[in-house]
């Protein structure tokens, strides 16, 4: 066979830990899907709000803003832990991965605890009226994703600590950071819609 007619790829690595990996792209598309879902929910919220004369509906108190705003701090900082772990994954530094994942888990856990505490003070549930349904839809769906990724990150953490990992698991740490950036990032518009928009579009009673 003539050399010119073959393309030899044996020198290429059999793995890749970066945005060139197919898994990274797959995760990106999942983010598109989730992002679209939340966007539609946000649009629906405003559609309903603009059709109703009285906001908040009678008997509802708008959710308080202090604790959720404070919770933003550990939440955003937890992304730094993800970043640290992701960079360590690329360099195959076990200590870095453990440190980054731990930081991420602790801060994400703190933000979650603050969120769950704050929920007790919301004086309506999803059955009450449209505001209730939308508020709890946002909180419920986002928190579901949040907890799911938290669990996934804990499992990754256990695997890395146990030393039982290879390139595939390091790619997992890298892609997990992308998931976390999405979960933190999508929270910002949801937080604004759930906690601040009611005040902005409030009608005088």
């Amino acid at each position: 066979m003539t050399e010119a007619r073959t393309l030899d790829v044996s020198h290429l690595r059999p793995w890749e830990i970066s945005s060139q990996a197919p898994l990274w792209w797959g995760q990106l598309f999942i983010d598109f899907i989730e992002g679209t879902m939340f966007s539609i929910l946000i649009a629906s919220y405003f559609y309903v709000r603009l059709r109703v004369d009285v906001w908040p509906p009678p008997g509802d108190q708008f959710p308080h803003t202090l604790l959720p705003s404070l919770a933003l701090i550990p939440l955003i900082l937890s992304a730094a832990g993800s970043y640290w772990a992701s960079e360590a994954a690329k360099k195959n530094s076990r200590a870095g991965m453990i440190g980054g994942l731990l930081l991420n888990l602790v801060l994400a856990g703190a933000a979650l605890a603050m969120r769950l505490i704050e929920w007790h003070s919301i004086n309506f549930n999803w059955k009450a009226d449209a505001l209730g349904s939308y508020t709890w839809a946002f909180l419920g769906l986002h928190t579901f994703d949040y907890i799911a990724d938290l669990v996934f990150t804990i499992v990754l953490f256990v695997i890395i600590v146990s030393g039982r990992y290879g390139e595939k698991e390091r790619l997992g740490v890298h892609v997990d950071s992308v998931v976390w950036y999405f979960i933190v990032g999508i929270w910002i518009p949801i937080y604004i819609v759930v906690y601040w928009c009611p005040y902005i579009v409030e009608t005088a009673q």
Binding site: L7, Q20, G26, T36, S44, K127, V151
Partner: protein
């Protein structure tokens, strides 16, 4: 051991390589093995076969409806049964036949056309199929337990709300949507990743086959449209089961919001079905006229434009709800605009047929049938885009005629052509051409006889979704004609099945490339080995198989002792890294079972969301648990 390909004469087949590939890519044995298959050919076939079964189910439902409507004041079906049947017919055809069938072909063909061995996420692929099957079985469980949905396939609220549709009927419908949309989103994500990252070396973006472009665009549309129907159906399910107020008017919910969210999905949905069919037409036209489709760039840009514009049309389903005039004008304009992008493609195909050397095979017959029927459907679509006209014919049999013309003409006829074109690749034998042409004519005549009269019925005032009508309305004769046509269509379906079964046993042996076609799937064996190609091909032209054999290039250096493929760059498909795919696994099936427990159970008791999530979490841990070898040898 037969060679994987015989169209690269300058490459001697290496027996050891073939033995390794056969061993590494072999299907696992037994029932547990069958549940663990992850090859794209097997999963693609499963989608195609399952979707075909649901095509038959939807067809039977249609025949039942047509029997009831054949005569005025007919008593074959009462209103409840009729309402269940028309709802189930629409739901089955849209969610359980059309989209999964197109996806099945995509899963089967795209890796072959790209010159790779499998999709980027084989286990996700398997999971997606099980979710589709579970959703379909869940809905039909409802159908056979007197809980078939009965509120129309788009389930407008408040009719589909708890007050007006009591019981579980609408719940089965809404949750089936969740199942099938999860499945569709898995397929979309993996197809895009495969198309972006696993193309043959040198298959730059402007060398991608038109069918693959169609699947790429369709997959992006799925990503952005399906979430809307998930939300819409979840609004309904949640209002019904946990007393929320998203779309029920009692406490501030809004029925029109439901329509907006639903149709934001619903309009792109028909293009999600239709765009892959356009890809079929391109593939068939180029192979059976032996020239590259005219106007590649125009074709690609039109399809991309189609994909975008499709998202800007949805309000044309809501013209009767009393919208502001400026909004109506905008949606008329955008609905008319999409005729341009479809028109450009028709012109390009006609130009191709005009200057090629057509071979009038059955597949090409279906292309001509597509042109005739789809263009007529497009004409009525232009009429429906006009608000004053739409206000008269909306929700009448005129619309029923329109969408059957564009869906059957625009998607099913190309699909039939696709069957005749790719059957030899999938089974190794050609379908019979004589029976095929008979098949075409019976379907063509039956289709027009069924649906053309419906245009007139709509203009004569016959609304949709009515279980009967009085004789003095004057709709009897045309309905009778339509019913005769429907039975002729059914005969056409039977002829097709007969041809499939006969040809599987007695059809002429096809060889790798019976049509002398140009795309890479025709380089693999018929049917392909699980690993598709012994050596992955490179693509130095838009029509790689029309490059003389001595000028073709292929890839060496991939390991054959594990499931390894090549990842290339996005724009120019330069080799970037090698990518090891996982072996067959039972986890996708188990995860699907866990998710099914959650989804299906939650229709009866909301706590199942929690149990299902926990079970799913456990299965996902199993799925991703590290397996040996941990470090990959280079």
């Amino acid at each position: 051991m037969k060679p994987a390909q015989d169209v690269l004469p300058n490459v001697p087949t290496c027996e050891q390589d073939i033995a390794d590939l056969e061993r590494v890519w072999r299907h696992p044995r037994g029932i547990g093995g069958w549940l663990s298959y992850t090859t794209h050919q097997a999963i693609g076939m499963r989608y195609i076969v399952t979707a075909f079964v649901f095509l038959l189910a939807g067809g039977i439902e249609a025949l039942l409806m047509r029997t009831q409507l054949a005569l005025p004041n007919n008593t074959f079906l009462g209103p409840d049964r009729y309402n269940e049947i028309f709802t189930t017919h629409g739901t089955t055809m849209m969610f359980l036949f059309a989209v999964p069938m197109m996806e099945g072909f995509g899963i089967y063909l795209v890796p072959l056309m790209l010159g790779t061995r499998n999709v980027a996420f084989p286990r996700l692929n398997a999971f997606g199929y099980w979710m589709y099957l579970a959703g379909a079985l869940f809905l039909y469980w409802g159908v056979f337990t007197n809980a078939a949905p009965d509120m129309g396939w788009f389930a407008y609220t408040p009719l589909s709300g708890p007050q007006f549709t009591p019981g579980k009927r609408a719940d089965y419908w809404a949750q089936m949507i969740t199942f099938t949309e999860v499945s569709a989103m898995c397929v979309a994500a993996e197809l895009i990743a495969t198309i972006f990252k696993q193309r043959a070396p040198r298959m730059s973006l402007n060398r991608i086959p038109l069918y693959v472009w169609a699947m790429l665009i369709q997959s992006f549309m799925v990503l952005f449209a399906m979430p809307a129907v998930m939300i819409a159906s979840s609004f309904i399910l949640s209002d019904r089961t946990v007393a929320t107020h998203f779309v029920n008017p009692a406490e501030g919910g809004d029925p029109l919001l439901y329509q907006h969210v639903f149709w934001f999905f619903g309009h792109p949905e028909v293009y999600i079905i239709f765009i892959p069919a356009l890809g079929f037409v391109s593939a068939i036209v180029s192979a059976h006229t032996r020239r590259e489709v005219f106007g590649y760039t125009a074709m690609v840009l039109s399809q991309i434009a189609n994909g975008f514009i499709a998202f800007g049309l949805w309000v044309h389903h809501m013209f009767a709800t009393g919208l502001p005039q400026i909004g109506e004008a905008y949606f008329t304009a955008s609905s008319l605009m999409i005729a341009i992008t479809s028109g450009v493609q028709i012109f390009c195909w006609i130009a191709t047929l005009w200057t090629g050397r057509p071979r009038f095979t059955t597949a090409l017959h279906f292309v001509y049938g597509f042109i005739a029927i789809f263009v007529l459907g497009g004409m009525t679509g232009v009429m429906l885009a006009s608000v004053p006209l739409d206000l008269q014919v909306h929700d009448t049999f005129f619309v029923v005629a329109h969408f059957h013309y564009v869906l059957i003409g625009g998607a099913v006829f190309p699909l039939m052509g696709a069957f005749y074109h790719w059957f030899p690749k999938m089974t190794g034998r050609l379908m019979d051409e004589f029976i095929g042409k008979l098949n075409f004519w019976v379907l063509f005549i039956g289709f027009n006889l069924t649906f053309f009269p419906m245009h007139i019925l709509g203009l004569k005032g016959m609304p949709r979704r009515i279980y009967t009508y009085p004789p003095e309305a004057g709709w009897g004769p045309l309905n009778h004609l339509a019913t005769i046509g429907a039975f002729i269509l059914a005969i056409g379906g039977a002829i097709f099945l007969a041809n499939v079964f006969w040809s599987r046993k007695y059809g002429r042996i096809a060889g790798n490339n019976p049509w002398d076609a140009d795309s890479l799937e025709w380089a693999a064996a018929s049917p392909p080995a699980n690993y598709n190609f012994e050596y992955l091909p490179a693509a130095t032209s838009r029509s790689p198989l029309w490059v003389p054999p001595e000028d073709r290039t292929f890839v060496t250096g991939l390991r054959n002792d594990r499931r390894e493929v090549l990842v290339t760059t996005l724009m120019d498909a330069e080799p970037h890294h090698r990518y090891v795919l996982p072996p067959p696994s039972i986890w996708p099936f188990l995860t699907a079972v866990a998710v099914t427990i959650g989804f299906a159970g939650s229709v009866f008791n909301a706590w199942y969301v929690t149990w299902g999530s926990i079970l799913t979490g456990i299965c996902l841990i199993g799925w991703f648990w590290p397996r040996r070898p941990l470090e990959l040898e280079p």
